[in-house]
């Protein structure tokens, strides 16, 4: 029993790491640009499929390094051509636009790579379990958790220590003042969008190694990412990280006792948070109204 619970807690942590990676990107874009990027799951799928197509040429490690960057470049272009036009307009329009984009990306990947689940090969030594007692602890899973932690650490370093990061955070608080101080807000939003999409692309490569590739691979991750943002607290990136891990573990533990509710439990958590603490666990006061 302990092993089963441990297995599910660890599983939940991995899923939670995915949620967090997705939700951090979504949250950054939402905070700075006021855009809910519905197509975030689509970008995740693009990252995964690009990695699949690149692996025969540059290997797993090469794909892991290159595919998220290519995804981010696509993201930069999409922001430049489409999303930029909608800043300052009713948020409804950016929602609808990214919604349509999500449809197009899903159908596009299905058209290019086919509807069947494709296998994504990872290096052998990563695929084997670390010990026979803890069969679920494959090297790949541990590797994923470590990589996500390193990425998130690097992200927070960028946001807190580099000029770009500090400007992104300042702009999330008060874009007008940042603009008046001479920062090019257009470029800032563009780079911020690209950074968020990079995280989605990275999540896509990692998810491909665990789940295999499907055009709908991002769909199951996007709703929990919304929940992670709300549970963690609007406007707070550490909150988003915490929210992602928390709901991942919660759904993992629920899967032990009541498997059919493992998806619903995170929405119950969201309801409780909204009831007791509407601004979220680490959310700033006054963001809600």
């Amino acid at each position: 029993m302990t092993q089963l619970i441990l297995f599910n807690v660890f599983n939940g942590l991995i899923i939670g790491a995915f949620y967090a990676l997705m939700a951090l990107g979504l949250s950054m874009i939402l905070n700075l640009s006021g855009v809910i990027n519905f197509a975030h799951g689509g970008f995740l799928a693009i990252g995964a499929y690009l990695a699949y197509s690149l692996t025969p040429y540059i290997g797993f490690w090469g794909a892991l390094a290159v595919a998220p960057i290519l995804t981010a470049i696509i993201g930069l272009l999409v922001e430049r051509v489409l999303i930029r036009r909608l800043y300052g307009r009713d948020p409804l329009y950016s929602l609808l636009l990214t919604f349509g984009l999500a449809f197009m990306i899903e159908d596009g990947t299905r058209y290019l790579w086919g509807p069947e689940t494709l296998p994504f090969t990872i290096p052998d030594w990563l695929a084997s379990p670390l010990s026979s007692d803890f069969f679920f602890l494959t090297g790949y899973r541990v590797f994923m958790v470590v990589l996500v932690l390193v990425t998130v650490g690097a992200l927070f370093l960028v946001l807190n220590r580099t000029r770009l990061g500090i400007r992104i955070r300042a702009g999330s608080d008060d874009l007008e003042t940042v603009s008046v101080l001479g920062v090019n807000v257009r470029i800032l939003r563009n780079l911020n969008f690209g950074l968020g999409i990079y995280l989605a692309g990275l999540a896509g490569v990692l998810a491909a190694g665990m789940l295999g590739l499907q055009p709908t691979i991002g769909n199951e991750l996007i709703m929990p990412s919304f929940v992670a943002i709300i549970v963690g607290g609007l406007g707070s990136l550490p909150g988003t990280l915490l929210g992602g891990l928390l709901i991942g573990v919660a759904s993992g533990v629920t899967a032990v006792f009541f498997p059919s509710a493992s998806e619903a439990v995170i929405y119950v958590m969201m309801g409780l948070v909204l009831l007791i603490r509407p601004r979220g666990l680490l959310g700033e006061e006054g963001r809600v109204l």
């Binding site: 939402l30 006021g34 855009v35 809910i36 489409l82 036009r85 909608l86 307009r89 948020p91 409804l92 329009y93 950016s94 929602l95 609808l96 636009l97 919604f99 349509g100 984009l101 999500a102 449809f103 197009m104 899903e106 159908d107 596009g108 058209y111 709703m223 919304f226 929940v227 943002i229 709300i230 609007l234 059919s260 998806e263 619903a264 929405y267 119950v268 969201m270 309801g271 909204l274 009831l275 509407p278 809600v288 109204l289």
Partner: protein, 317 residues
């Protein structure tokens, strides 16, 4: 004076078109069931627009209540009692209860956050329908029931047998629902909703209990969407888990935007265009998703005011 006259002419024209639709839709390549679908989805889009266009609150999760209505009527007829009106009432009642509870949790949120939470909560009902296999039929949907004739005591009206009868049954309920919404919007309550849409802070300073009004508007909107959901299930003799999903919510929003959010009848026009286009595209190509997605993008970029917005601007210039 002139504008009220114009409005009355427009109203008369719309009702005339709706009343005669089964007789002319064949000439433009449609069929009677398609006409019913237009009216049902128009009701959903107009109900959503009560909240979206006239209260200024962005909900992206209305499919949940549409789907609750659909499952409510199906499950009532299948398990509880063989009565179509009872099924409709149960579907609307359950949806009202769900909307009332969720509404209290979300009335304090605004704009994108409101949208995000409504989408996320919508998924709960999707998972229930999807997972609770034994009762809801899971992924396959709820079948094994059918629309039953209306029993008036003195005689029965078989609404399911003839598509034409069903169309007028749908249109009658549509008229009642739309009439109630129009009356509400003309009442002081409706004017208050407009005030909140235009300037929430000012409305609050005037002493208007903004949260209560938004909650009421949300509830009204959800209940009428659930009525549309029950009619949709009765039309298909089937409830589909897809009815509850977020992409269905997106469809309702695009119908409202395409027709014109600031206009009462706009969503009806949007629904008609969307339904006919979807019917056509999905019969022509397997990649209909790309086309619908592209359609969304193009509307947002080039047509954000919708058909009615465009007509009004033309008339003004």
């Amino acid at each position: 004076m002139n504008s009220t006259l114009n409005r009355q002419i427009a109203n008369a024209l719309i009702w005339a078109l709706l009343l005669t639709m089964p007789y002319w839709i064949g000439f433009v390549g449609g069929y009677t069931s398609l006409a019913s679908r237009v009216v049902v989805l128009a009701l959903a889009a107009m109900s959503l627009n009560f909240l979206l266009g006239f209260t200024g609150v962005l909900s992206f999760g209305h499919a949940a209540y549409f789907g609750i209505g659909a499952y409510g009527v199906g499950m009532t007829i299948k398990y509880l009692a063989p009565s179509t009106p009872l099924g409709i009432l149960v579907g609307m009642g359950v949806a009202a209860a769900a909307a009332a509870i969720i509404g209290t949790l979300i009335v304090r949120l605004r704009s994108v956050y409101f949208a995000m939470v409504t989408i996320a909560f919508g998924q709960v009902f999707y998972f229930i329908a999807y997972r609770w296999n034994a009762v809801t039929g899971g992924d396959d949907g709820l079948s094994g029931w059918r629309t039953l004739p209306l029993d008036f005591g003195i005689g029965k009206l078989d609404i399911a047998g003839q598509p034409l009868t069903f169309y007028y049954f749908v249109l009658a309920l549509f008229a009642v629902a739309v009439g109630i919404m129009a009356l509400l919007l003309r009442s002081p309550f409706g004017r208050t909703l407009l005030a909140i849409r235009e300037n929430e802070r000012r409305a609050r300073f005037l002493g208007i209990p903004v949260e209560q009004h938004i909650w009421m508007s949300w509830l009204i909107s959800c209940v009428f969407v659930s009525l549309a959901g029950t009619l949709y299930a009765l039309l298909n003799n089937f409830a589909d888990p897809h009815d509850l999903r977020w992409d269905q919510s997106g469809d309702f929003v695009i119908m409202a935007v395409l027709g014109g959010m600031r206009s009462f009848w706009g969503p009806l026009i949007g629904a008609a265009i969307f339904v006919v286009l979807q019917d056509y595209i999905s019969s022509q190509t397997e990649n209909w998703m790309s086309f619908i997605g592209l359609f969304f993008v193009l509307i947002v970029l080039f047509f954000p005011r919708g058909v009615v917005g465009l007509l009004r601007r033309k008339a003004a210039s």
